[in-house]
């Protein structure tokens, strides 16, 4: 089984595989001070041919494998580069044909017939066939694997270009789950995956995407090379290097110096600096990640939050325009909804209103003329800056809360375990549609749901069985209106993920896929000619 080359001089590129023996690694370490001074493996020839990224998060090998991809958006940064799917979100469409050139659905909504595109190859030259599609589906082991297993009756291969998936019952969201919410529809070569095994695949992934894997130095950088036989079009940039630079200020410095061409995640004052710097371009992308305040105690009759007027007062107290201007330079979107506006079945609520006087009046009517002690305000520490400003706004109308930021994993755990009370600041970037968001956050039985409203639960059950799209849309709109009227949550914003782009970049592909924070499609990227 291959491994990766831990040699500090840079990985050996033998057919895209990295090889390691422990002896070599330790020998390299013992001798290696001088080796560390040598140029890295990614010092590419010819700047024209290379686009360098400063990535804000350490890249995990599990992201190279669609079988382990979840509903989180971050792995898709790499999936869009190295792999391809039966269908996937693309510019202008939330579900565009990709490896499948077309599909049809039976009238009863149970049978999906996919026709694969002809002549498509994996990076190792093997053709993409229906067998690979079936294998990739069966191989998928993300958290939705159980859902697929319980709902998919069979997958048949009538011929190498056709796949027939039969469901046990109609499932209107099947394609959305298959193609965008999970990695089950992202296709890998069966023969190669079986030959190298699961670990081997993560060390040297092969896909059908626009870029092929060259090397990976864990925590340091990932190098990809253009796959000129990509079916959609050959990429115009020869090489991509994704360097991990955890510190935001350092990412900006690298961008300003031209050491990188694209820097992800630059916020606040650093984003302002990009605007001020000649040659750099700010690239904000409004992502499918709304933030909202959740009131876990609204089902407790003894809690002030039980009164809808108190929840409405909290919403009216928030000067989100000023907060947006200060923290995200005005680029976040104030939709007044907890659902991403690009999502299927989205209903646009009335605009946000900032009215602290009315908020105080509502509090007084609810029996709190001097405000009340609202306990603690829980949030993910990454967004504590938002929490601080919101707590200030709430304080101004008398809703007195104490900020309690937590490290991300602990915060997610806290929400899952339902240990938080009072006020919780939540942001969700999971793929899906309005119905899947309801399922997670609002309706009874959802993983993060503290309590629910029976009228909303009933409507959810009705839409889940509704095959007529028009009727389903009506129901889901009605549900969203109820969320708004009942003030189940107080929406904050739909976050703008702010990035920087350097002078060499022609087309970065930022913002081409609605709601996607990273650059894609990669094959559309260009560099400016000198």
């Amino acid at each position: 089984m291959g491994g990766f080359d831990g040699s500090p001089a840079g990985p050996k590129a033998g057919g895209g595989e990295l090889r390691l023996s422990r002896r070599n690694a330790i020998a390299g370490a013992a001798a290696g001070v001088g080796v560390a001074m040598a140029g890295s493996g990614s010092a590419a020839a010819g700047l024209q041919g290379q686009l360098t990224y400063a990535v804000h998060i350490s890249l995990a090998p599990t992201w190279f494998d669609p079988a382990e991809t979840s509903g989180l958006v971050t792995p898709y940064m790499l999936l869009y580069a190295m792999h391809d799917a039966v269908a996937k979100p693309m510019p202008g469409s939330q579900l565009a044909p990709a490896l499948a050139e077309s599909w049809s659905v039976s009238p009863d909504g149970r049978v999906y017939d996919f026709t694969l595109r002809e002549g498509v190859k994996f990076h190792n030259g093997e053709p993409v066939t229906a067998d690979d599609v079936k294998f990739s589906f069966e191989r998928y082991r993300g958290s939705s694997a159980a859902v697929f297993k319980s709902r998919v009756a069979s997958i048949e291969i009538p011929d190498p270009r056709h796949v027939r998936t039969t469901l046990k019952q109609p499932w209107p969201d099947f394609l959305m789950f298959y193609a965008s919410t999970t990695g089950a529809g992202w296709i890998v070569p069966r023969k190669y995956a079986e030959k190298v095994g699961e670990d081997g695949f993560k060390k040297a992934p092969v896909g059908a995407g626009p870029y092929k894997f060259v090397s990976f130095n864990p925590g340091v950088e990932l190098v990809l090379e253009a796959f000129d036989q990509y079916w959609r079009k050959p990429p115009q940039v020869k090489r991509l290097v994704l360097k991990v630079i955890p510190d935001e200020s350092t990412r900006l410095a690298a961008l300003k110096r031209g050491e990188v061409d694209i820097a992800y995640s630059l916020r606040g004052e650093l984003a302002e600096e990009v605007v001020r710097t000649e040659g750099l371009t700010l690239k904000p992308v409004v992502i499918d990640s709304p933030f909202w305040l959740y009131f876990p105690d609204q089902w407790n009759v003894k809690s002030p939050w039980h009164d809808v007027r108190v929840r409405q007062a909290a919403a009216l107290a928030l000067d989100m325009k000023a907060i947006n201007d200060a923290l995200t330079l005005g680029y976040s979107r104030l939709t007044n909804s907890m659902f991403p506006d690009s999502f299927d079945f989205y209903w646009q609520p009335p605009p946000m209103v900032y009215d602290p006087d009315k908020a105080k009046k509502l509090l007084a009517e609810a029996g709190h003329p001097n405000g009340f002690d609202a306990g603690e305000y829980f949030c993910d520490i990454s967004y504590a800056n938002l929490g601080e400003t919101v707590v200030d706004n709430l304080q101004a109308v008398g809703i007195r809360a104490r900020l309690r930021p937590s490290e991300r994993a602990a915060f997610i755990q806290g929400i899952s375990d339902k240990i938080y009370k009072d006020i919780v600041q939540i942001g969700s970037g999971a793929f899906g549609n309005v119905a899947t968001r309801f399922q997670s956050w609002i309706v009874k039985g959802g993983p993060y749901v503290y309590g629910s409203y029976p009228q909303i639960d009933e409507l959810y059950a009705a839409q889940a069985a509704e095959l007529d799209r028009g009727r389903r849309t009506e129901i889901l709109h009605k549900m969203q209106k109820l969320v708004h009227e009942l003030a189940v949550v107080a929406p904050l914003w739909q976050l703008a993920f702010i990035n920087g782009q350097g002078a060499r970049v022609g087309e970065s592909s930022f913002g081409k896929i609605a709601g996607f924070p990273y650059t894609a499609p990669y094959e559309d990227q260009t560099l400016k000619s000198t």
Binding site: G28, G219, P246, D247, T250, R257
Partner: protein, 306 residues
Amino acid sequence: MRRFVTKRLGYAVLSLFLLSLTIFLLVRVTGDPAALMAEPGASAEQLAAIRKNLGLDQPLWIQYGSFMANFLTGDLGHSFYYNAPVLDLYAARLPYSLLLAAVAMAFSLLIGIPSGILAAVRVGTMWDGAGKVFALLGLSMPSFWIGLVMILFFSVYLGWLPSSGAGTPLHVIMPAFALGWYFAAAHMRLTRSSMLDVLGSEYVKLARLKGLPESLVVAKHAFKNALIPVITLAGINLVIMINVAVVVETVFAWPGIGRLLYEGISFRDFPLVQGIVLLGGSMIVVVNLLVDILYAVVDPRIRLEA
């Protein structure tokens, strides 16, 4: 001597055992790594499956026993996040940490020792005062702040040095300075106090009475003896620099062990954190043991007292 060495070895083994137990338990207090590895909304069964896959469903004593048994055979476990042997990850990053530590140590000694000597020889003067200010700044200014200011000045404004990463000699300059600054202050203080001790000793007084030039007294008679504790400290600091330069390596995106440790903590990668801490701790224990033995060899009083 044998008895002395055996005793010291025993303490070393005990220290390592306590360290392994401490880090094993402490890292588990940080929370459940399965929660980070699963997508939001994962069911209890899914989380349980992840824990089982990672071996976290076993009783703690079995997990610890397995970890230590593997450690003794050179296997530090498999990183949850990187899906690679911890030892391989460590070995891949070690050369970078060695390089950074070596340059930072060189800087800290080149600045710290001469300034400490000067402060001691010119005690009570402005040189001594300047040394104290240097020490205060070095010990109190946070390395991440120094790093960011250096990046701003030398990379962005002047364009002299690369802002981050590794690969050329220029890349190591700023992180080495940011890392070595604190240790330069520490070495300066120790050198100063050690020199003052030595300069007040009887044999130095005799050397002066004999009419030797002050420069010779300082350089030949005082300096070498004053250097002994500084070298001891430098040895231990070198190991610390190699293993825990977390902040500097993160600010400069330097691909060293400190950053690997930071990533392990962020992702609750238990084997990675355990392995790095244990390897670093082992280095410190070994260095201390060697120093103790060396002292006993050089100074018989030490081994007789033991």
